[in-house]
């Protein structure tokens, strides 16, 4: 513990934001002022636009640029790893306990560090395209068993490629944004639709990564180079209306069932901060085709937790615990697959993992699985039962990597389900 990097700002051991993390977000002071880039340290936000203005970024990749007085991270994401590494090194230096620049300059320090409670967060990037994968074997198997039986649980393609679909970018919202119960067509008999509010609104525990530089149309990203294009990760809740999905999804996949809202957490955790928590991904059998063959030591040990709080409950209940390392397909494989046809990635594109379910019943990442299509309802401390989400339910994802005496955390992605509007 003696050699651990420490900040002059006090960081509780269970804080998500020690000097080992330094995630990025877009914030604006509640008292007013334009959105800009900030970095988290303990319960504070460090204003990078101000540090930039003060000339404190001196690396060649960063100086004389306007990167942080911007309402999105896209320009910074586009610069690539050398710039990300330089910014991170400089920020760790400025925040460490033995560095006087900020620590001993009360005036600068007061202007540059704001309490998180005193700022408003915004979406971290303009998301040009959003893609959602389906990369947890346990999740795909569970859904397959429910809908097609045990023998045909996994589709024949699943072990050969990371299945995915294009999602809706416009309805990606920041943690804290209420979610309105969607209305639409459902058909209990699979033949005759009726119209009304969805009865089966669910969450999906996911994570997603933001793309850095990206690639030109026609020029795939090789799997070995993919991590150079991964800026950082967030928590993702892919809200889903199961009854709408069931009726609409053949033959072109989920559409309205997924496009009413997708919640992401405000802090983007840099891949560098996750490096100490790198771990093997599950062994892949059959061996994937060469364009998907990569170092499989490229998953991350990220604890994930889901809580639910109904309006009758005084505090949230943990309903699921999972881990990012449960994912069968790695981020590098997802990116290599997505671009193998030549599809171009742009800085700020978001690629989500799909529901991250683990092998045990308490590690499932959706109510569909946790209650097994509603057949095993969850009993809440209030005495209520839940098969799917009810109006007023607050659903929160959180996640963290456990270091030796510190946590690299993701904060949370939360949203409350509001009643359907009357049309």
């Amino acid at each position: 513990m003696s050699s651990i990097l420490r900040s002059f700002i006090e960081v509780p051991a269970d804080s998500h934001f020690p000097i080992q993390n330094l995630p990025y977000a877009i914030f604006s002071p509640k008292e007013g002022g334009p959105p800009r880039v900030g970095v988290a340290i303990s319960n504070h936000v460090l204003d990078l636009a101000l540090l930039e203005e003060e000339g404190l970024f001196t690396d060649d990749t960063l100086r004389n640029k306007t990167l942080f007085a911007k309402p999105t991270l896209n320009d910074f994401m586009a610069l690539g790893r050398p710039a990300w590494r330089a910014a991170r090194a400089r920020l760790q230096q400025l925040l460490r306990e033995d560095e006087p620049t900020l620590r001993d300059n009360l005036e600068l320090r007061t202007r540059a560090l704001r309490l998180m409670a005193a700022v408003q967060f915004h979406l971290p990037a303009t998301i040009g395209d959003y893609t959602d994968f389906y990369s947890s074997r346990d999740h795909a198997t569970n859904v397959g068993v429910m809908f097609r039986g045990k023998e045909n649980a996994l589709m024949p393609n699943w072990l050969h490629l990371p299945v995915a679909y294009h999602g809706r970018a416009s309805s990606i919202v920041l943690s804290g944004t209420p979610v309105i119960r969607p209305q639409g067509q459902t058909a209990a008999d699979d033949i005759t639709p009726t119209f009304g509010p969805s009865r089966l609104v669910d969450f999906e525990l996911e994570m997603g990564f933001f793309v850095g530089p990206g690639n030109a149309l026609g020029d795939p990203i090789p799997v070995q180079e993919a991590t150079e294009h991964i800026f950082g990760l967030v928590l993702v809740n892919d809200w889903s209306a199961r009854d709408i999905q069931k009726w609409e999804y053949q033959p072109l996949g989920p559409f309205l069932a997924k496009n009413f809202a997708t919640t992401i957490s405000p802090w983007v955790i840099p891949l560098e901060a996750l490096e100490p928590f790198r771990c093997p991904a599950p062994a892949q059998e059959p061996t994937p085709l060469p364009y998907l063959r990569a170092d499989q030591d490229s998953s991350y040990d990220i604890h994930l937790e889901v809580t639910l709080q109904s309006e009758q409950m005084a505090s949230p209940l943990v309903i699921a615990r999972s881990n990012f390392r449960n994912l069968y397909w790695t981020m590098s494989q997802q990116l290599a697959h997505h671009t193998i046809t030549g599809c171009n990635m742009r800085p700020g594109d978001l690629l989500a993992s799909g529901t991250i379910s683990g092998p045990t019943e308490d590690s499932y990442g959706s109510l569909l699985e946790l209650t097994w299509r509603g057949s095993k309802p969850i009993t809440l401390p209030s005495g209520e039962e839940r098969r799917f989400l009810q109006d007023g339910d607050q659903l929160t994802l959180s996640g963290w990597c456990q270091g030796d005496g510190y946590r690299v955390g993701f904060g949370e992605a939360t949203g409350k389900l509001l009643p359907a509007i009357s049309l």
Copy 2:
């Protein structure tokens, strides 16, 4: 013919761009200069940025604004129909034969009107989200018969809702951009994939519309108000790799098979220009649910044509003739359905129709249908046969409405298929 509106600029009878059309595009002069908004008249582009600078837009909705000295149409699209109507009326006035402002000011006229051949076109809008529908009954039936047999040709949901999926916005390219044959996984036996260039590259004849003002998240667009959100239409070629699609698409829909390129035409034809060609859409039985019930007199009589030219051919061959009015679901229904869950539309979003096939064998909008999965190859004048596209093939979509002595045309959406790159 005597009362027809005429321009002081000569317009041949078969031109796509008479004074009755006045479509919008983004262009930049080939000799240099920033991209800006232009309007087509005969073989000329009228520079709206210049007219704006000259103060020639005097309507309250337009004056003292920078709308046309912009690299995209998004800001103009966001203004809504009153502004679109005012701009169109003013442009028709400035271009008519009896109006001297431009006609008799040689200096202004020379600066404001450029030959199309002397400019470069750009994508008309920043497309936040791209959605592709599946709204031709003949196309859905043909595909259904091929893959599921005659009895189950249409899925049970098809007659109740306009089926759609989210597409990839980043790879939408302008007419003229070459398309590289994609590589990926295919599995002839549906079990064991191999990697290589797609062997079954196809086109899809579609049209698409750009969204105007749009809606806030949670606030659906009623079907009766939908046309107020339709700025204008373009031609769309949804290039498709059928063998990649077949292996990947279960259960989440088409992904890589469709995301290597989508070609659109440069000119956006305003809905107002299509008004004289409005016609009934096909009768809908069963009657849709109330949120999809609209005036069915809201389709448009737009002739569509597809040509193919191989490298051995001296001129293109027409391989299909169809019509926009073949579409079962209307644009208003598509927009109402897309937003019924609360999904938000932003100015510049693109909603495409899906393949527009007609009832006869020469009106099918894809090679998949025209050659019936390759079983009835097309013989080209060069003696070559085509089941699917070969390297070097140039595929061109065009479309027009036939008026009395004039045409309101869409120009063309063209692209040449290039060989796969070596990885």
